[in-house]
Each structure stands twice: as structure tokens, then as C-alpha cells.
């Protein structure tokens, strides 16, 4: 489907055009004859399901992957992009989905990695200049931080801001952003949007990958949809409805209202957290979760939601308080919590959720070993069957259960993390940003799944930075502020305004 440009555009020649790009990985045709063009001063949204090939296309575009077939044109002239250096010369800069920061270098060194200002002695770095330059870049994106802070001390959101600063500093003509807001709070997201508006005005072409429908319509000038490595269509936001877009992406109708079968009367008490205080900065947390409920846990980034989740699961130690699960007090390591029926779907799937080099099957059964093989004897075929079942149930896009999990797309990796707890038969699911980086189809599937789980007598505690999601699916929610519970919202009170009001400092 490499038909010519789909729609009329302001400028006659695109800044950069890719024609007939194909890219194959062992067992996966990641890109199949994809054509794609960006024009100066536009925000080009790239949409698609998890594993559709968005990140791959961008990696081809910036020279990180070599394409198996296809041509590149810069301002109408044929060029070769075979390395990141080639791409940089053409003014292409990328904010990757995975961070490309060096932990023990400071912010300034990270921003200018490979482009350090030269000092007087050959080979040395002009320290004063690099700090000043970094400060200037950070100021343009409104990020107020000391550029000599080492990156290992930064939170996820702060790291994302450094990534953005790094891309901006290259004075790029073409800027690719792969899910830049996935880790950002509302405040930082606003800063980013303002920045995008400014760059647009300067004539920078922006390619923007996102799974958030709101952003697509708020920012996009043009939309290209990929599905299974193929380009499906190119449209303008004004010409489509979200439902139509979703259909293009997943090839079928998806219900985006996340229907919940709300429990009329909540079941018995499953989890009771009393006065939980932990050295990680949370204090006096009181939470109750009943069977059949989905309870939200919201607040700003850094308000301590993840810390609560980790402390309940036993991943971090606690200083005082009590956690009562299913009538019994628990305290100890995660293996105890897991055995009693608590599941944690952690914030960072790559570093905390998966063994990236192992197979999908290995990852799916790892939490359920004791349940699947009560005798203690492991049976590969049984594991494989369980995995195949989960792959079907969760619609995980993988060539087989034997595929290395690290080669799946981000969203599919997330499904594997959820899948392993389904296999374990947990009773309480603690989701820490379960839909981060997950496509719309998968999102509704995951919510349907959670709904089914709780309907069957399980319960969920869900952390999400997307307040809409909380409002749609939760029975009620706790709002956190600075390590404490700032308030509780019932089903009727659960609105975005209320969440924000309780979560802000001047509530």
C-alpha cells in the first residue's frame, strides 16, 4: 500500500520522505513496504497497535536500524541513511521510547554526549561552556534543574525531560518523539506541548508516536496509521473520529468506554493497610480493598504511589503499620505476598517485570511455578500449553511462546507481565501504570480483563497517571500527596477535577 501522498499539504516537497521501507527480524516482518513523509512545521502523528512497527520505522529513519529495502529522500533528493551519524547530519533527532541516558554522567554531559565543547587542551572538555549550554537548553524546555546533577539521581519523569533536552539541543529539523509523555505528569506534559508549538512555529517537523487519543487530536496535523508493519492510511485529525482511528489501528471495532460491571455491593474485605509507614517516604497510609472492587490510587508523579504498592507487596521494607490480607497479617519478602495471592505489575516492565533474554513462555509461568507444578517437578510441555493459552487470551503478538520476550514490542511485553500473574491465580492485583505504553485495543482488553477478574471475586488496586482511566474503571480511589493519603473519592465523587484538586499542594 505505497500509494502516493494521501492528502494535499502546504509545502510541495516533504522535508523527509521514506519510500517502500521493509524491515524483517527473525520471525517478524516489522515493516512491510511502508512509505512515510514529513513536512516542515507539522506534527505528524504515528499511530498503531503495540508491535505495529512504529518504533522500528523511527529507528530506520534515524539510522539505528538498517532497512532491508526502501529509499530516503531529503528535500526531494535521494539520500542514504545507514547510520545515526548520517541521520544527525540531516538534522534528525530522536527521543527514544527506551531511555538512552548514561546513569553516572551528569545532565550536561548526557545532553551533549558526542558533541562536547572542546577545551583548550586537545581531547578535553570545556566544562564551563558545557554547563552553560546545558542550562540554556534546559531553560528553553522549562526544566529547572542543576545541569551538574548526575542522571542516576533523577526520577523517570526527570529523565524524560533530559531526553527531550538532549534532542532539542541538536537544533534538529526533524524531531521524532516516541511516546514522550508516557512517563510525564500533567505539568510536564503541558511544558512539552508548549515546546512543540514553539518548534512548529520555527518550521521543525515533528513525528509523534502516542497511544493517547487526546494527544492525537490536540497536537496532530496529520496522522499515519500502521498495522502489522504495513501502512494502513494517512488522514487529518479533522476528518476522522477516534472510533474510526481505532478501527484503522486494530482492524475491528473497539469499545473505548471501558465498560465496567460495577459491583452493587462490595464483597468482603481483602486488603487492609493500617498506618503503613516506610523509609521510602510514605507515612500513615490507610487503605482498604474489598473483593470485586477496583480501587484507584492517584496523585502526582512523586507522590509515593509506587512506594505504597511496593511496600504492600513486600518489595520495600516498612518501618511501622500493618498489612492484613485475607484476614491474616503479612510482612516479609515478595515471595510471601505472592504466595498469599498478591500480584504486583511493576512500573518498569523492562527492569522489574521481565527477564528480557528468556522466552515468553518462561516469563509467563515464572510466578505460577508452584501452582502449576505442585509436585515441584517442572514440565516444559505443560508450561508451554499454559503460555499458549495466555498468549491467546491476552492476544500477545509474538511469533511463538519460544520467542525471546525482549524482542516483543513494549505493549506486548506489558501483557506478558500481567499474564504471569493471571497464571499464578492471584487474588489482589496491584497495577502500577498498567497501560503505560499500551495501545488502545490492548488497553480496553486489559480493562475488560481486570473487570472479569474482579467480577470473579478478585480485587485490584490501580495506579495510573491517566486520570480518565481511573474515573472510567475504578469503584473508588485514594488520592496521594507527598507520601500521605490526601483523600478518598467514592464512585460518585470520582472526577478528574476532584483528583487534581486533592492531589495538588494547595488543596
Amino acid at each position: 500500500m505505497s500509494d502516493a501522498l494521501p492528502i494535499e499539504v502546504s509545502s510541495p516537497t516533504p522535508l523527509l520522505e521514506l519510500r517502500g521501507i521493509s524491515k524483517e527480524f527473525p520471525g517478524v516482518k516489522a515493516l512491510d513496504d511502508v512509505s512515510f513523509a514529513v513536512y516542515p512545521g507539522e506534527v505528524h502523528m504515528l499511530l498503531g497497535e503495540n508491535g505495529a512497527g512504529k518504533s522500528s520505522l523511527m529507528k530506520v529513519l534515524c539510522g539505528a536500524y538498517g532497512a532491508d529495502a526502501g529509499e530516503f529522500f531529503y528535500k526531494g533528493e535521494k539520500v542514504a541513511i545507514t547510520s545515526t551519524a548520517d541521520a544527525q547530519k540531516l538534522g534528525i533527532a530522536v527521543i527514544f521510547q527506551e531511555f538512552s541516558l548514561v546513569p553516572y554522567l551528569d545532565i550536561a554531559q548526557n545532553i551533549f554526549l558526542g558533541r562536547e565543547p572542546k577545551g583548550r587542551i586537545p581531547g578535553t572538555i570545556d566544562r564551563r561552556k558545557i554547563l552553560a549550554d546545558a542550562k540554556r537548553v534546559l531553560d528553553t524546555i522549562g526544566f529547572d534543574i542543576d545541569p551538574s546533577t548526575t542522571v542516576d539521581k533523577l526520577g523517570v519523569a526527570q529523565q524524560q525531560m533530559v531526553e527531550i533536552a538532549k534532542a532539542i539541543s541538536q537544533d534538529a529539523r526533524i524531531l521524532v518523539m516516541d511516546e514522550p509523555t508516557a512517563a510525564l505528569s500533567d505539568r510536564e506534559t503541558e511544558l512539552l506541548f508548549a515546546l512543540i508549538a514553539r518548534l512548529k512555529a520555527d518550521g521543525v517537523a515533528i513525528v509523534y508516536i502516542s497511544h493517547r487519543m487526546a494527544e492525537v487530536f490536540a497536537l496532530g496535523d496529520r496522522i499515519t496509521v500502521l498495522r502489522d508493519g504495513r501502512r494502513i492510511d494517512g488522514v487529518r485529525p479533522a476528518d476522522v473520529t477516534p472510533d474510526q482511528l481505532v478501527r484503522m489501528m486494530v482492524g475491528r471495532n473497539v469499545d473505548m468506554t471501558y465498560p465496567r460491571h460495577f459491583a452493587d455491593k462490595p464483597g468482603e474485605l481483602l486488603l487492609e493497610v493500617k498506618g503503613l509507614t516506610a523509609p521510602t517516604g510514605i507515612s500513615d497510609i490507610n487503605i482498604e480493598v474489598r473483593r470485586g472492587e477496583i480501587v484507584g490510587l492517584c496523585g502526582l508523579v512523586g507522590s509515593g504511589r509506587s512506594e505504597v504498592a511496593r511496600a504492600i507487596f513486600g518489595a520495600d521494607p516498612m518501618t511501622s503499620g500493618e498489612i492484613i490480607f485475607d484476614g491474616k497479617s503479612i510482612s516479609g519478602e515478595p515471595d510471601l505476598a505472592a504466595r498469599r495471592g498478591i500480584a504486583l505489575i511493576p512500573e518498569s516492565r523492562k527492569s522489574e517485570g521481565l527477564a528480557l533474554l528468556r522466552s515468553v513462555s518462561d516469563n509467563l509461568v515464572v510466578s505460577a511455578l508452584r501452582k502449576l507444578f505442585p509436585s515441584g517437578l517442572f514440565d516444559q510441555r505443560r508450561a508451554q500449553r499454559t503460555a499458549d493459552g495466555l498468549i491467546r487470551q491476552l492476544r500477545i503478538a509474538t511469533p511463538s511462546a519460544r520467542q525471546t520476550v525482549g524482542l516483543l514490542s513494549g505493549g506486548n511485553q506489558q501483557k506478558v507481565v500481567i499474564g504471569k500473574w493471571l497464571a499464578a491465580g492471584s487474588k489482589l492485583f496491584i497495577f502500577d501504570e498498567p497501560t503505560r505504553g499500551i495501545d488502545i485495543g490492548a488497553k480496553s482488553e486489559i480493562f475488560a480483563l481486570i473487570d472479569r477478574l474482579v467480577a470473579d471475586g478478585a480485587a485490584a488496586l490501580m495506579i495510573s497517571s491517566e486520570q480518565i482511566e481511573i474515573c472510567h474503571v475504578c469503584d473508588r480511589a485514594y488520592v496521594m500527596r507527598e507520601g500521605r493519603i490526601a483523600g478518598h473519592l467514592t464512585r460518585n465523587e470520582l472526577t478528574e477535577e476532584n483528583i487534581v484538586r486533592l492531589g495538588m499542594h494547595h488543596a
Binding site: 527473525p26 520471525g27 517478524v28 516482518k29 497497535e49 498495522r227 502489522d228 486494530v250 482492524g251 475491528r252 507487596f313 518489595a315 519478602e333 515478595p334 515471595d335 505476598a337 505472592a338 504466595r339 504486583l344 511493576p346 527492569s351 522489574e352 517485570g353 521481565l354 527477564a355 528480557l356 533474554l357 528468556r358 518462561d362 509461568v365 515464572v366 510466578s367 511455578l369 508452584r370 507444578f373 515441584g376 517437578l377 517442572f378 514440565d379 516444559q380 491467546r392 492476544r395 503478538a397 509474538t398 511469533p399 511463538s400 519460544r402 525471546t404 504471569k420 499464578a424
Partner: protein
């Protein structure tokens, strides 16, 4: 439906698992070395020599098999050799003092296991990287053994006890039976028990393993204790085979054991490898030394040849792994 299109891109399922393929390549390499040696030396292919090679490989294998589990968790145990020395000296003394081989064997195993457990405690409770913790342990053990032995040699053990290392049963050396037994146990443990699976998971990503509900600290303790226990077993074999022990016997055992694990295809980054691979690794190392002895290769060349073999083996392993992925 998207499912159908995704089904279409699945490659045909290969019949053999990745590990099986790697073991197969290794067997091939071992056979190749055998073929070369058979051409170069008349005596190589004799039954006697083959049993001989197996028996020599068994000592390295006992140490290396426990070590394999440690390496599977992305750890390392540099203290195995020193552990063998201490355990052998203690077990030997007990046999001399009490006259009871059974008691001696038990003390040797217990000594090895306790040292392993201490390693495990350093790695889990004190959170010292295993490479460093076991290096420290190596010197502590050496100090203990030197002090305990004070330059003496233990020798002369009951004939029954000596059968373990030097006896035959139905024409096969007893260590070869032990080798087969432990090869079986090790493979079964690693591949067919959930503990084995958990060990692989820990090696692949310890943080994720912990958050998946695996009792990481306990499994690590187990793994280091098993490694120590196997060193204890090796010390018994050593003692009964050589009918003697002294303080420095461990020195020349550690690096060959590590080399056997690596040649056997276990990755130092954890999560990848098999006990059977380690067995073939031990076999390849032994074959090379056996060949050099049979061909009377000068001593000067022996480290050089061993070094090249280690690099070649691992490089070929990576080559074949990439292709079959």
C-alpha cells in the same frame, strides 16, 4: 482478525530447544577433538584411555557442576578450589583420627557445604558481589588450610575408602558412575524442577525474579551451598583417589572448573546454560590435556593451547547461538 495475520508470521517451530542445539554443537566439537587425537595417537582410542579421560574429567565436573548453578544465577564462586583443599584436609584428619571413612565423608561434605553457605550469606545478606565475596573467601580458606596443615601432608587411608576414587565396578571406574549420577541429578535439578526454573529466572533478571515472587535470597543460598557441597564431594574423591592431601591442592582446580563451565556454554551473565554442557566442557578440557600428554607436547605450550581452546569454544558457541535464534 489480527490473530490470523500474526499466526502467519510465526516461523515453523524448531523441534529442538536452543539448549539442546548448543549441547549438540559441543558434542560435535568434542568428537572432532577425539577424531584428531585418534589420528595423531594410536593409544587414544583404547578403552583404557577413554575410561581414563572420563575419570579425569569427573573431578573437574564435580566442582564445575555446582559452579554451573552459581554461574546460572549470574554469580561466580572463586573459592571452590580452596574449599576442596580445606574440606579434603579436614575430612582426611577425621578419617585418621576416628578411623571411620563415613564420618570423614560427612565432615568433608559438611565443611564444603558450610563454606558454600557462608558464600551465599555474603552474597545475599551482606550484598557483596559474588566475584569479590568468594575471592575474599578464597584467601580466608587458604589461610585456614595453611594454618591447619602447617606444611604437612595427610596420607594413607583405609582401602575401602580408597575404592571410591580408584575402584572399579563391572569394569568401569567408580568415579565414572558418580559422574553419571551427578550429571543426571544436576540436569534433572536444573531442567525438571521448579527450583531449577527459578534459578534460571534469577540469573536472567534478579529484580524481576524477586518481584515475581521467587524467594531469591533463599535460592541463592541454596545454589552457593550446593556449589560448596559439590566442592566437598570433589574433596572426598580427591582424597580417596590420591590417598593423600595437602594445603595447596586447590590452586590448580578453580580455573579449569570455571573454564569447563564457560566452554560448556553457560553464560556469565546468568540465565543461560546447562549442566550437561558443563560436562562436555570438562570433557573437552581433559581431552586436550590428555592429548598433549599422549603426544608429549612440551609443557611450555600447554597454557597457550588451553587459552586458545577456551576462546574458540565460546566464540563458536556465540556464532551458533546467533544463527539459530
Amino acid at each position: 482478525m489480527t490473530d490470523i495475520s500474526k499466526e502467519a508470521i510465526m516461523p515453523p517451530r524448531s523441534f529442538l530447544s536452543q539448549d539442546a542445539i548448543q549441547v549438540f554443537y559441543r558434542l560435535l566439537a568434542a568428537l572432532l577433538i577425539c577424531a584428531v587425537l585418534a589420528v595423531l595417537s594410536d593409544s587414544f582410542l583404547s578403552l583404557g584411555n577413554i575410561l581414563n579421560v572420563l575419570r579425569q574429567a569427573s573431578l573437574t565436573f564435580f566442582i564445575a557442576s555446582g559452579l554451573t548453578l552459581v554461574v546460572l544465577t549470574a554469580g561466580l564462586d572463586l573459592s571452590v578450589g580452596a574449599n576442596v583443599a580445606l574440606s579434603a584436609c579436614i575430612a582426611g584428619t577425621v578419617i585418621h583420627k576416628t578411623g571411620s571413612p563415613a564420618l570423614g565423608i560427612l565432615t568433608g561434605l559438611a565443611c564444603g557445604g558450610i563454606v558454600g553457605l557462608l558464600n551465599g550469606i555474603m552474597v545475599t545478606a551482606l550484598r557483596i558481589p559474588s566475584f569479590i565475596a568468594t575471592y575474599g573467601m578464597l584467601w580466608v580458606l587458604n589461610g585456614l588450610t595453611y594454618w591447619y596443615m602447617a606444611g604437612e601432608t595427610l596420607h594413607g587411608f583405609p582401602a575401602g575408602f580408597r575404592q571410591i576414587g580408584s575402584g572399579y565396578l563391572f569394569g568401569l571406574p567408580i568415579p565414572v558412575y558418580l559422574l553419571l549420577v551427578f550429571l543426571g541429578i544436576g540436569t534433572f535439578f536444573a531442567q525438571r524442577t521448579i527450583w531449577g526454573q527459578e534459578i534460571y529466572a534469577i540469573g536472567a533478571n534478579p529484580v524481576a525474579a524477586r518481584l515475581s515472587g521467587i524467594p531469591v535470597a533463599r535460592r541463592l543460598l541454596l545454589v552457593y551451598a550446593v556449589s560448596g557441597l559439590m566442592a566437598g564431594l570433589a574433596s572426598i574423591i580427591f582424597l580417596s583417589r590420591l590417598n593423600s592431601a595437602e594445603a595447596d591442592i586447590g590452586e590448580s582446580l578453580t580455573l579449569p572448573a570455571i573454564a569447563a563451565v564457560l566452554i560448556g556454554g553457560t553464560s556469565l551473565f546468568g540465565g543461560v546454560g546447562t549442566v550437561f554442557g558443563t560436562f562436555i566442557g570438562a570433557l573437552i578440557l581433559t581431552l586436550v590435556l590428555n592429548g598433549m600428554n599422549l603426544l608429549s607436547v612440551s609443557a611450555n605450550w600447554q597454557p597457550l593451547v588451553t587459552g586458545i581452546i577456551v576462546i574458540l569454544a565460546v566464540w563458536l558457541d556465540m556464532k551458533t547461538r546467533r544463527r539459530t535464534q
